[in-house]
């Protein structure tokens, strides 16, 4: 990686850790939310009878699952916000350990992009 010809050991370590940790959260979270989300239209389209089972008063399973999509969105969002503090901390470490100059030379090889 050309970028790291100018970066120091700590930076490379931190950056790799950032990417790993991000992946470890984002990929499972994305797969989960996709399955959870599509569960609802798939169930209501193909298994409507089950979805009409009343759970609480007149509120059926379909409605409970629909409400759970909101809860899921807010929970996953909050969890990510909480996780991301760690990502920010890693990025700040990278910034601190790199004076801008250690990263800039690779830019000069390529020239600006605008």
């Amino acid at each position: 990686m050309r970028l790291f010809e100018h970066a120091n050991e700590t930076q490379i370590d931190l950056y790799k850790r950032l990417l790993t940790e991000k992946k470890r959260f984002i990929i499972p979270a994305a797969i989960f939310l996709f399955c959870f989300y599509f569960g609802l239209p798939v169930l209501t389209s193909y298994f409507p009878e089950w979805m009409n089972i009343k759970i609480w008063g007149n509120i059926s399973l379909a409605w409970i699952l629909a409400f759970s999509q909101f809860i899921m969105t807010w929970l996953v969002g909050t969890l990510y916000l909480w996780k991301a503090r760690r990502f920010d901390a890693l990025v700040n470490e990278i910034r601190k350990t790199s004076s801008e100059s250690s990263l800039a030379p690779s830019a000069k090889q390529e020239g600006g992009f605008l």
């Binding site: 989300y37 389209s45 509120i59 059926s60 629909a66 909101f70 969002g77 991301a84 605008l114």
Partner: protein, 514 residues
């Protein structure tokens, strides 16, 4: 003429013009024009994103859909919310870290070919225009009914206002119009929700009990299947919804208005709560309309339930509340269309003019002039198209905009961010495949081809109303095949540099990012 309604509408017009006036004084350069100088806080931007996103189609359309179709109407709204998780987790922060003014700027950190910028800008304009026509035509019909103004006059008023906000106040004015609209919309829906709930003795359960006997659908009102009968079409629609938001240019440009990745994240997080709270409240609005307006009365008018919310307000609180809710709907329309004007005109002025025609050599003053003239141009084109589309059923254009965003923009954005082998040719073929397949499939679908009421009076060739399930995979496939077939040399360094910048916000190349 309804005097109360007129007063509320006037208050909104004057209020937004005052905002524009004060924004105009701050809008002295292109950086402020396009990004409000990165000075919005995460919370403010979150409100603005919500204001940009919760369209009249959501407010009026979903309320009406719930009132008429019960569960299915509500199901439709969920995708609009959950899609923000994709935005939050995958797209928002990298796009902020890479970008400057437009989607094409973010992509240019990795691929800076002019022809790619051209295609990205083209998609931005296409999406904005589809979305805008649907909004404006709806606005014309709404104002016509509420203020008894002629359709054409209504379009001219909304069209001129949106153009004025953007031309003079740029992103600052647009953002504040959107923030205020979000607050108005939330308060309006909250007031109505509380009144509706009070009418049901403050019992959620009792409301569900009552509504089951309020409509001719009876118990079935609460069951899935009243609106969406074809499972495949339902899945296709949801696919476009959940993947589309992350590719909508007028939402993405909002990520450039804050100062860092953390604020971007907090904007989207705020939006998730605001938009979620709003969609939860649409249940009260929809159930309220079904119970208190009367199902028969809702069917009246060609818009099929689009007036459910104002009619409910009238049933609950008389003229005054109805005037207030109508004014909220008016503010909603203004906020959404001005966001669209801004994103389309930045594609014209920043991408086409400054980068493609002038090679990035246009002076600051020339760029500013271009930005203003292209806003005026976009405004005029939109008005003309909306005037011509009055008699047409254009509701499907919103889902078409989502389909284009999901099929053309999202694959390109995701692969640019994460696929090492991706290249310029792949990005271009992917985007064009996604764009053309969405449009062609919609033209061949029952939206346009219908033996009785279609623009083309014939049996539909493509059976689904929503092209997503076919066009999204095609968009990815086009990008993949285009990449493999091209003879471009792989530029791994460029990928690693962009990846680094996307995830840290530290520019590796010497960009002129202020």
């Amino acid at each position: 003429l309804n005097i109360t309604a007129f007063t509320f509408f006037l208050a909104i017009i004057i209020g937004t013009l005052v905002i524009t006036y004060s924004a105009a004084k701050r809008t002295t350069n292109t950086h402020v024009f396009y990004t409000a100088g990165n000075r919005l806080t995460g919370f403010q931007n979150g409100l603005a994103i919500s204001g940009d996103y919760m369209s009249a189609a959501s407010f009026l359309g979903i309320t009406g859909a719930i009132a008429l179709n019960g569960f299915d109407g509500f199901l439709y709204s969920i995708g609009f919310l959950v899609s923000y998780l994709i935005v939050l987790l995958i797209v928002a922060e990298p796009m902020h870290n890479l970008g400057r003014y437009t989607v094409a700027d973010s992509i240019a950190v990795r691929f800076n070919a002019k022809r790619l910028r051209g295609v990205v800008a083209l998609n931005t304009v296409v999406i904005a225009i589809f979305y805008m026509i649907a909004q404006l035509v709806g606005a014309g019909a709404l104002i016509h009914l509420l203020l008894e103004l002629d359709y054409n006059t209504a379009i001219l008023i909304v069209g001129s206002l949106m153009t004025i906000y953007v031309v003079f106040g740029g992103m600052v004015a647009t953002s504040w119009v959107q923030i205020i609209k979000a607050i108005l919309l939330l308060s309006g829906t909250l007031i109505i929700s509380l009144i509706v709930l009070a009418r049901f003795d403050w019992s959620f359960l009792y409301m569900f009990e009552q509504v089951a006997s309020a409509t001719p659908l009876g118990e079935k009102f609460l069951h899935p299947g009243n609106q969406f009968v074809s499972p495949l079409d339902t899945i296709s629609r949801h696919l476009a919804l959940i993947l589309g938001t992350a590719g909508l240019p007028h939402i993405i440009v909002r990520f450039y208005t804050v100062k860092d990745a953390a604020s971007t994240r907090y904007s989207v997080y705020t939006a998730i709560w605001v938009i979620g709270a709003f969609y939860v409240m649409t249940i009260f609005l929809g159930f309220g309309a079904a119970s208190f307006v009367g199902w028969d009365k809702l069917q009246i008018g060609e818009d099929g339930g689009n007036l459910a919310a104002p009619l409910l307000a009238n049933a609950l609180g008389g003229d005054f509340l109805m005037a207030f809710i109508s004014a909220v709907a008016f503010a909603t329309i203004l906020a959404v269309v001005s966001g669209l004007v801004l994103s389309a005109s930045s594609a014209f002025a920043h991408d086409f003019y400054s980068h493609i025609i002038r090679n990035g050599k246009a002076s600051e003053r020339e760029q500013m002039v271009a930005a203003k003239w292209s806003s005026i141009g976009v405004g005029i084109i939109s008005i003309v198209l909306a005037l011509g589309a009055q008699k047409l059923n254009v509701a499907f254009l919103v889902s078409l905009a989502f389909a284009v965003a999901a099929s053309a923009n999202l694959p390109m954005i995701l692969l640019t961010l994460f696929w090492k082998k991706f290249n310029t040719s792949g990005a271009i073929t992917g985007m064009l495949t996604g764009l053309l397949s969405s449009i062609i499939l919609v033209v061949l679908s029952p939206n346009i081809m219908d033996p009785v009421s279609g623009w083309i009076e014939a049996e539909a060739i493509f059976p689904l109303k929503n092209p997503g399930i076919v066009s999204i995979p095609l968009g990815f496939l086009g990008a993949y095949v285009g990449t493999l077939l091209s003879h471009e040399k792989e530029n791994k360094e460029r990928f690693y540099d962009a990846l680094f910048q996307a995830h840290t916000g530290i520019p590796v190349q010497s960009s002129d990012r202020p």
